[in-house]
């Protein structure tokens, strides 16, 4: 029996970027999928011959590559997009974002904001997203229903959240989440501690233990601002990174967002402990937090992914902008335009991101045996003409709006720019209504 009879989907391309190290683009390549997994990649002409009956997704004018991986976000905050711009981090959080969250972020609003964020991300070629926020069980449900892959956490902070009155309650929700979602094909439950300055040592240790118990990613904001580092040194006698190492918090399970203000010693600690760093350049620039020393981290062997952060500080979930800005920023800061080449940035946004979220070997590359998470970027545009190098195009020229089809775990979720699993008009109408309430509050 020929293998072809079991294929469910064959994705045609103008060019396939597998993101396997050093692999050249496969011109007019195709990707064959069965049971949610990639079973074969090769010239479209060969694969078409073997697949007389399976569904064909025609992306013949597209660059076909692994779906992008967003390693840090707060999805529901999309409802606060542009609510309070051009403000410093502390005033932005304390005077605008936190009050709005306390007043409006109930379960229903989180569900709505998450749906808006999932829609935006899928339409922008992102197939896996991290999230740390409240009502994480609802966040998981939204992603599962939409068919998007997620690494989702209920966030712990030593005060109250819109959902929980005490840290103990939050930790109980975290445990429930890990138990309830541990076997879902798309959702990885996760643990998240807000930050070393907002969660006490005892609770940080509990979080690390929980993450270990369930073998799940452990998300945290780390060394985002100069204030955070100075305060840590003043009160704890150590940088936030060194402090976390002292607590035994750091491991390969840790996804540390930002790491803007890290010194040589911090970088060594991050590398030695196998910590994954989520670089969020747009958010860091917008809040004037600074620029993470990503080149030094890469040199030290730190594992790197890219993230958008929440739309309240970005103001989109368009990871391609973070790709472009990552390449531009680090060229400029190093004074060397040969640094941070397109291929490095593209790896961080795909295989690198998958690795730090604990999904390495599962997604982030197109390779037989891996799950079929695929983004097809149309190249039929003025701004993508002509093409000399597909990787360069993805980093410096392509835009989220170029996404034509998106496949997650073998299922076509976006077809011809239309979401197959969500009603965008309804989400937009309800989001606009929610924003009206938030603004008038």
């Amino acid at each position: 029996m020929n293998t072809n009879s079991t294929w469910d989907l064959l994705v045609l391309s103008k060019s396939v970027l597998t993101m396997e190290p050093e692999a050249a683009p496969i011109e007019k390549g195709a990707v064959a999928i069965a049971d949610g997994r990639i079973v074969e990649i090769g010239p479209a002409s060969d694969l078409l011959e073997k697949a007389p009956t399976c569904e064909v997704l025609d992306a013949g004018n597209c660059l076909v590559m692994p779906g992008l991986v967003n390693t840090h976000s707060h999805l529901a905050m999309s409802l606060l997009r542009g609510l309070a711009d051009d403000l410093p981090l502390k005033a932005w959080l304390e005077d605008h974002i936190w009050p709005a969250e306390r007043q409006y972020m109930d379960r229903e609003t989180v569900a709505l904001g998450t749906r808006l964020a999932v829609a935006e991300q899928l339409l922008g070629g992102i197939t896996t997203t991290a999230d740390m926020y409240f009502f994480a069980d609802t966040v998981c449900e939204v992603l599962a229903e939409a068919g998007m892959r997620g690494v989702i956490a209920e966030s712990l902070i030593d005060s109250s959240t819109p959902r929980c009155a005490t840290p103990e309650e939050m930790i109980a929700k975290q445990r429930n989440l890990c138990e309830g979602w541990r076997n879902h094909p798309l959702i990885t439950p996760s643990i998240a501690a807000h930050a070393p300055y907002s969660v006490c040592a005892a609770n940080l240790v509990k979080e690390a233990e929980l993450a270990e118990e369930f073998s799940v990613p452990l998300q945290i904001h780390l060394s985002e601002t100069r204030w955070e580092v100075e305060t840590s040194i003043e009160h704890k006698g150590a940088s936030p990174v060194a402090y976390l190492e002292g607590l035994g918090f750091l491991s390969e399970q840790v996804v540390a967002a930002h790491c803007v203000h890290v010194d040589r010693n911090d970088i060594e600690i991050l590398a030695e402990n196998g910590v994954g760093v989520s670089h969020n350049p747009v958010s860091n620039l917008k809040l004037a937090s600074g620029v993470a020393p990503v080149l030094a981290m890469l040199e030290a062997g730190v594992r790197l992914g890219l993230g958008t952060d929440g739309a309240a500080s970005n103001n989109t979930l368009d990871l391609l902008r973070d790709l472009q800005i990552t390449a531009l920023l680090h060229k400029s800061i190093s004074g060397d335009p040969t640094t941070m080449p397109a291929a490095t940035v593209l790896s961080a946004a795909t295989s690198g991101g998958a690795e730090i979220l604990g999904l390495g070997g599962k997604v982030g590359m197109l390779k037989p045996g891996m799950e079929a998470d695929i983004a097809c970027f149309s190249l039929n545009h003025a701004h993508t003409t002509p093409i000399y190098d597909p990787s360069s195009h993805m980093v410096f020229a392509a835009r989220a709006a170029d996404v034509r089809h998106v496949v997650v775990r073998g299922k076509v979720i976006v077809r011809d720019r239309k979401l197959m699993t969500m009603d965008l008009d309804e989400i937009r109408t309800r989001s606009t209504e929610a924003a009206r309430r938030i603004q008038s509050g």
Copy 2:
């Protein structure tokens, strides 16, 4: 007689951003146009009542604003987009770009590359573009045919160009251009000297005289790299800016691109002479040239516009990216997220750019009496939902692909994302063929 009978076009909106200083957005506003000019702006309901017969352009879901103004570019270089990335400026220019130009940039290829660039810019909401390149008469013809506004120059350099063997020949072409195109409704001929390091003093003086004789903008690359400034100080005993002032080159007609490496004294000189500076952040970052001290320039009263530079160093002509990066960069560098607010950036990309190109009072704002150059950005997207502040959205969330309609001088040039005056498929096919020749060369 009612004024309405003479209206040619009425543009409806969800919101009109006129870009008049301090003006609030006009919700459900409309713009009435006659003979290429704006005649009235007000609530759509009022204007619709007065206009029973004129053509109505329904941008009811759009933010309607002045078309963007790109103050620095080399349009035909779009054919070299992504040809040689991740390289330093000198190697990029000398080993890749200049050889490709010498071999391939004949009149026909310049026409093709310019058409590709015009298509990309119109589809991205840019209605006015500067250009300094070769075969400028052909560039003017392409823009005039496409219906785009341009400030176009034949570039002078003290060597040869693909068109001219000697500087004298180039200057003769410049004079011809100014004489031939001085009265065109869309095209402003212009003078361009490549840079203070590549054009001798005598020729720089001639250029300033020519610009004065014809009252046209005088474009130049200025203080783009550290090398340029150090060499100038070493050989001429003055910074490039001070050197040009000494020659009497500087005036309100000058459009100085880049100005990355300018000190306090330079900034004062630029302000005193009324020089317009074109800030090109994406290109400057990509070539690792540095970041122009734009905040200091604005404080000193320097007139500012934004530019994409050529697509070979960007790699798009998507000015919205330069808006976003201008806002992000200068917040981050100043360490103060309240600096470079959205409204300031948006002004530079519209009225500011128009001013420095000598088109102030003519385009760059929506105001009765001004010419009707208008971009309509659709807000029907996940990434632009919800909306709290339209200016913030334009800088931090909107994308070139959101452009739905574009009007230049009262004529609808882009309707429902389709170019009315150009055949994009044919341009793309021919551009791909040209790239194949360039790559194999």
